[in-house]
């Protein structure tokens, strides 16, 4: 099992190598397809995976910021793991900048008459505002993480290279802990606010605008709720794998699994609610310019099959399964469920984007290119997270003093 080696120094390098190899393989496929055959398909797969994997990282970090803001007392070890996803933030930012190269292929509106929408939908403004937004979001997230690490490392000591450097820096320049704790809360709240606003913006610009004449006011909120859903899913997967591994001291209590499982279940409902709130209004109103988007994606072939797979995989099945109390306390089962849901949401990204890129498709244009690029992005995310734990291995050791007590003191 890959994650079993996370804290084991000898085994860790191969693990990193595997992830780097996956990333490189994905990149190679992407470059090969982009250069040789079908650049549109390569870039569209890139956009899909950029959105999906960035949302995972953003949603997982949200868990920690949220738990800290509401002063939750149960989430200690889960927050530690959630924060590790912040290591993907710089990668995600770079990936967004690279997206600029594929602008011809991911913005179908570039050569359309937009009837006045050019004010909002033009490349410099779009990239400018989204870049600023992502910088703010990631900046707040990393600032929050920095403060969290201060209290973690002070309490547990640092075993990794970067952790030791941070600790040495703090020892040389002592900080006022009360002020630091206050600032941490402020950054946590700012991250939450930025999360809602920036993910809405990204949803409007990179997903909704691929069909420039369609709009839905809930789309932004739907985008960030989806990110929370898969972010929590990824958090459950990673913490379960770490918990099941006997190579590290990381353990999660049964009631903690139960609680995070309940939250995941709640966001399953919220996701379905936000989907339905859009669907029913558009379907019932039946205004031609609105309803075409829904009909194309949920009722007309070939996309309707995909829509049903997603609805069953992301709502009906997890809803029926997660009603059961015991299943939420079983890490192995939860890994399977969360991975299935995440796959469903990956397909859902594809469903939203696909019809805008492939008009009049006779079959669902999903194939090995999308999968290979996804593998590459997974490699990057996994390498970033593994690298984080390599720098801060103490986060996976036996649980020490409760951090909240340290902060409160």
């Amino acid at each position: 099992m890959a994650t079993q080696a996370l804290t084991n120094q000898e085994n860790q390098l191969p693990l990193m190598k595997i992830f780097y190899a996956l990333a490189a393989a994905g990149a190679l496929v992407f470059i090969a397809v982009a250069a040789a055959g079908n650049p549109a398909r390569a870039w569209q797969a890139y956009l899909l995976n950029f959105l999906f994997f960035s949302a995972i990282a953003q949603g997982a970090v949200l868990f920690s910021a949220l738990m800290h803001t509401v002063k939750a007392r149960w989430s200690g070890p889960l927050s530690d793991v959630a924060e590790s996803f912040a290591a993907f933030f710089p990668v995600s930012l770079v990936l967004f900048i690279i997206l600029f190269l594929g602008r011809q292929y991911v913005f179908p509106w570039l050569h359309e008459d937009l009837h006045g929408k050019e004010v909002w939908l033009n490349l410099p403004f779009l990239f400018g505002r989204d870049l600023v937004g992502l910088c703010l979001l990631y900046g707040f997230g990393l600032a929050f993480l920095y403060h969290r690490l201060y209290f973690s490392l002070k309490a547990r000591g640092a075993a990794g290279p970067f952790g030791r450097r941070l600790l040495a820096h703090w020892d040389q320049h002592p900080l006022d802990e009360a002020r630091l704790a206050g600032r941490m809360t402020v950054f946590g709240i700012l991250y939450l606010l930025a999360f809602a606003l920036v993910l809405s913006l990204v949803g409007y610009d990179l997903v909704m605008a691929t069909d420039p004449h369609w709009y839905s006011t809930l789309f932004g909120a739907y985008t960030f709720v989806k990110a929370v859903y898969i972010g929590f899913g990824a958090l459950i997967v990673l913490s379960s794998l770490l918990h099941l591994s006997d190579k590290n001291g990381y353990r999660v209590e049964e009631n903690q699994f139960h609680d995070v499982g309940k939250l995941f279940f709640a966001f399953c409902l919220v996701w379905a609610d936000f989907f339905y709130a859009q669907f029913v209004v558009i379907w019932y109103g039946n205004i031609p310019e609105e309803t075409a988007y829904i009909i194309e994606r949920t009722m007309a072939a070939p996309w309707n099959v995909l829509a049903w797979i997603i609805f069953v995989g992301c709502f009906i099945a997890p809803f029926l399964i997660l009603i059961n109390r015991r299943i939420k306390t079983m890490p192995k089962a939860m890994v399977v469920i969360c991975l299935a849901v995440m796959t469903g949401i990956w397909l859902e990204h594809f469903l939203l984007l696909g019809p805008s890129f492939h008009h009049h498709a006779h079959h669902i244009p999903l194939g090995w290119v999308e999968a290979a690029v996804a593998v590459g992005f997974f490699g990057l995310l996994a390498a970033a997270v593994t690298g984080y734990f390599r720098q801060f291995p103490e986060l996976l050791q036996d649980k020490k003093a409760d951090r909240l007590k340290v902060e409160g003191a």
Partner: protein
């Protein structure tokens, strides 16, 4: 503060509120009842003369009756948020106010439920709404959002009443055990034979938890359905996908404000300071900031999307909302709901009880105006300029509206003096920190 509480002190503090009331209490009850009678008189007048005595006319057919309906349903929601959702979240600070909030829910739904009746021209024919086989060949249109509403609101009333009553059972037993005479007989019936055995407690806690779990999706669905009364149409300003979550958040926003409005006098009069502590009110205040932010997000999104759509009708609707005939109402709404709650971010503001009370009143006003802006504004100024028209409520409508407020406070005032307005059971659970029965 809570650490100084004991079981006995909790019982004494709460039961002290049930002593025979003073004359001033009855004076207040009489005043509120007079208000109720005045409202009822206005309604009777409307029934006798006709629905035309209200200000509704072309093109605004839904006036204050619908505003008040949505307003009271909204008020109801935070009761369930506090009693059910926060119970599932194990937020201990909700325990002291859960009972009062749930009571508020039940009475607010009752008040809200009156308004569709008041809005009917021939209220005695209301049974046409029922799906009874008949010779009139009338059958309710189940595809109509208004029928969804009937089902949603009656389900909500049923579940929240049962939840409220279930939560009260152990407390009713406490009162029964201390009461004498007729009171004892009444409370013996009300307590449903509660003995406090282990088995009974086990069933009670599980039952309470299940109610909480059922009430949570219900509260969201009910106000979503209320929002779809508007959003499923094609009227600009109504037909928008964000309406369901936006209405739910707005409902909780107004309900939390109403909780603060009710709790501050309650704790002053009943000397509940040791139970409803400053920390509790502060937590409600923080939650108001959160719901206020969601509401602000929705306002901003609507305007942005109208602009982004480049749809002339949408753009005109939102331009007119902010700058047209109802601009004053619009800006009252924006200020009271989104800007003023932000002051609660400052600890000094939210710990100052007087300021908090004033802010809670302003949020209530703002949320009433939100419904005004949505319900009146959109139909007053829709597709056809030829069909534009303004609306203002008539005196009869004001009478009925004041009557509805009097009815709500009348019921609430009666309740707090005759039933335990704080859950003694849940307060005792709070003493054992972390041992809440939310499994």
């Amino acid at each position: 503060m809570e650490q100084t509480l004991t079981y006995r002190k909790i019982d004494d503090t709460v039961l002290d509120t049930l002593t025979p009331p003073q004359r001033s209490y009855w004076a207040l009850v009489a005043l509120l009842f007079a208000g109720v009678l005045m409202g009822a008189g206005c309604w009777i007048y409307q029934i006798l003369v006709g629905i035309g005595v209200g200000g509704q006319n072309n093109p605004v057919h839904w006036g204050t009756y619908l505003i008040n309906f949505v307003f009271w349903v909204g008020i109801a929601h935070s009761g369930t948020l506090i009693s059910a959702i926060l119970h599932l979240f194990r937020a201990g600070w909700r325990n002291p106010i859960a009972r009062a909030a749930e009571t508020m829910t039940v009475f607010a739904v009752c008040t809200a439920g009156l308004f569709p009746f008041i809005h009917l021209g021939r209220v005695w024919l209301v049974f046409y709404m029922l799906p009874i086989p008949n010779q009139r060949t009338l059958w309710p249109n189940f595809q109509s959002p208004l029928m969804f509403d009937v089902v949603a609101i009656s389900t909500y009333l049923t579940v929240s009443s049962l939840f409220w009553y279930t939560g009260m059972l152990p407390d009713l037993a406490i009162i029964r055990d201390r009461a004498v005479g007729v009171r004892r007989k009444i409370f013996t019936v009300l307590a449903l034979g509660w003995t406090g055995e282990f088995e009974i407690w086990r069933h009670y806690t599980r039952g309470y938890l299940f109610f909480a779990a059922l009430a949570t999706p219900l509260v969201i669905s009910v106000h979503s359905v209320v929002s779809w009364d508007f959003a499923l149409s094609v009227v600009p300003g109504w037909h928008t996908t964000i309406f369901a979550p936006y209405f739910v958040a707005g409902a909780i926003h107004s309900g939390l404000a109403m909780v603060v409005t009710l709790m501050i006098p309650l704790r002053l009069i009943f000397k509940y300071e040791a139970i409803i502590t400053d920390r509790v009110l502060e937590s409600v205040a923080k939650t108001i900031v959160f719901t206020g932010l969601i509401v602000a997000f929705a306002y901003a999104t609507e305007i942005f999307m109208a602009w982004y759509s480049r749809n002339p009708v949408e753009m005109e609707t939102f331009r007119w909302r902010a700058l047209g005939d109802y601009a004053l109402e619009y800006w009252i709404m924006v200020t009271c709901n989104t800007i003023i709650p932000l002051f609660l971010l400052f600890k000094k503001v939210r710990t100052n009880i007087r300021v908090l009370f004033v802010i809670s009143l302003l949020v209530n006003v703002g949320m009433w105006y939100e419904r005004f802006v949505i319900i009146i504004g959109s139909v007053a100024h829709d597709f056809l300029p030829h069909a534009w028209g303004l609306y203002s409520p008539s005196l009869i409508e004001f009478g009925i509206m004041i009557g509805s407020f009097c009815l709500f406070f009348f019921l609430f005032v009666l309740f707090v003096k005759h039933m335990p307005s704080v859950s003694m059971t849940e307060m005792k659970e709070t003493l054992h920190e972390g041992a809440s029965h939310a499994g």
